[in-house]
Amino acid sequence: MMAKKTRTVHRHHSLHCADVFSHICENLDADLDSPQCREIKRHIAGCPDCTALLDSLKKTVYLYRTVPIPTIPASSRRKLYSVLSLETGRRLK
C-alpha cells in the first residue's frame, strides 16, 4: 500500500507543473499520445492545478470561438462594391 502511494507521488512530481503548464499552453488541442505526452497526461490526471489550468484555457478558447460575430451589414457591402467600382473603373455589384 505504502509502495503504491510512493509511486503515485513520484509520478506526479516526475514532471514539474511549470513544464506541464508550458506544454498545455502551447498544445491545447494536441493528441496526447506520444510517450512524452502520456507522461504529461498522467501528471494532469493527478494534479488539480494543471487540470484546472487545462480546463480554463480550453474554456477561454471556446468562449472566443463561440461568441457571435456579425455578418457584413448591407450598408458595408454597398460601400465595398462602390469603392471597388471606383478602383476598377467598372461597376461591381
Binding site: S22, V61, Y64, I69, L92
Partner: protein, 195 residues
C-alpha cells in the same frame, strides 16, 4: 458549364488578372465574410471592420499580380488583413489600454499555488452581454501582435505554420505569443468564471 461555386480560386484569380471584373467580383463575394469577420474579431468594432474590408480588397485588386500561388489564397488574404489592422492601430494609436506582454505579468511558470476551477455551467447560459463585453475588453487589452496570433490559431483554426507564414514569424515565435495570449485572456476572465 461550370457554376461559379465550382470555379477554383486559382481560375478566378487568373481571370481577374486579365481584367475580368465579373471574376474579381466572385472572388470578393467568396471571401468578403472571412475578411469582415476576421477584422471584427481583431478590432471588435463594426466601423473599423468595414474600413478594413474596403482597404483589404483594394489591396487585393492592386496586388493580385504579386500573388504567386505558393500559399493558399486565404493565407495571402489573412496577411493583407493583418497588415491593414496593424497599420490602422499605428495610425490611430487608439489601443491605449493594451498591456505589454514582453515582460508578461502572467508568468509561463506556475503563477499561483492553487488554480481555481472554472464553472461547468453551459457556456450558452453564460453568453450574456456582460460576458461578451468582458471578452471584448480582455482581447482589446492584448497587444495587436499577440491578438492576431490568438485569433488566427484559436479562432480561425489556422495551423502554427500558416500563422507563421501570414505574420512572417518563426513557428516558435507564434507558439510563444500564443502561449502568452492564452494565459493573459484566461487570467482576465478568471473572476467571472470561477465557480
Amino acid at each position: 458549364m461550370k457554376t461559379v461555386s465550382h470555379i477554383s480560386d486559382g481560375e478566378l484569380i487568373e481571370r481577374s488578372r486579365t481584367g475580368d471584373t465579373h471574376a474579381f467580383t466572385q472572388l470578393v463575394k467568396r471571401y468578403e465574410q472571412l475578411v469582415y469577420g476576421f477584422s471584427y474579431k481583431v478590432c471588435r468594432d463594426k466601423e473599423k471592420a468595414e474600413e478594413t474590408l474596403q482597404d483589404t480588397f483594394i489591396n487585393v485588386y492592386r496586388k493580385l499580380s504579386q500573388f504567386n500561388g505558393e500559399s493558399k489564397f486565404s493565407t495571402w488574404l489573412y496577411s493583407i488583413v493583418t497588415n491593414n489592422c496593424l497599420m490602422k492601430r499605428r495610425k490611430r494609436k487608439l489601443d491605449t489600454e493594451m498591456v505589454s506582454l514582453d515582460d508578461p505579468p502572467v508568468s509561463d511558470k506556475h503563477e499561483q499555488r492553487t488554480i481555481p476551477a472554472w464553472t461547468d455551467s453551459p457556456i450558452s447560459s453564460l453568453m450574456n452581454s456582460e460576458l461578451r463585453a468582458r471578452l471584448d475588453k480582455a482581447i482589446l487589452k492584448l497587444p495587436m501582435e499577440y491578438r492576431v496570433v490568438f485569433i488566427l490559431r484559436d479562432v480561425e483554426n489556422q495551423t502554427a505554420e500558416e500563422a507563421a507564414k501570414i505574420l512572417k514569424l518563426s513557428v516558435p515565435a507564434v507558439k510563444s505569443r500564443l502561449r502568452r495570449a492564452r494565459l493573459f485572456l484566461r487570467k482576465e476572465l478568471n473572476d467571472l468564471m470561477v465557480e
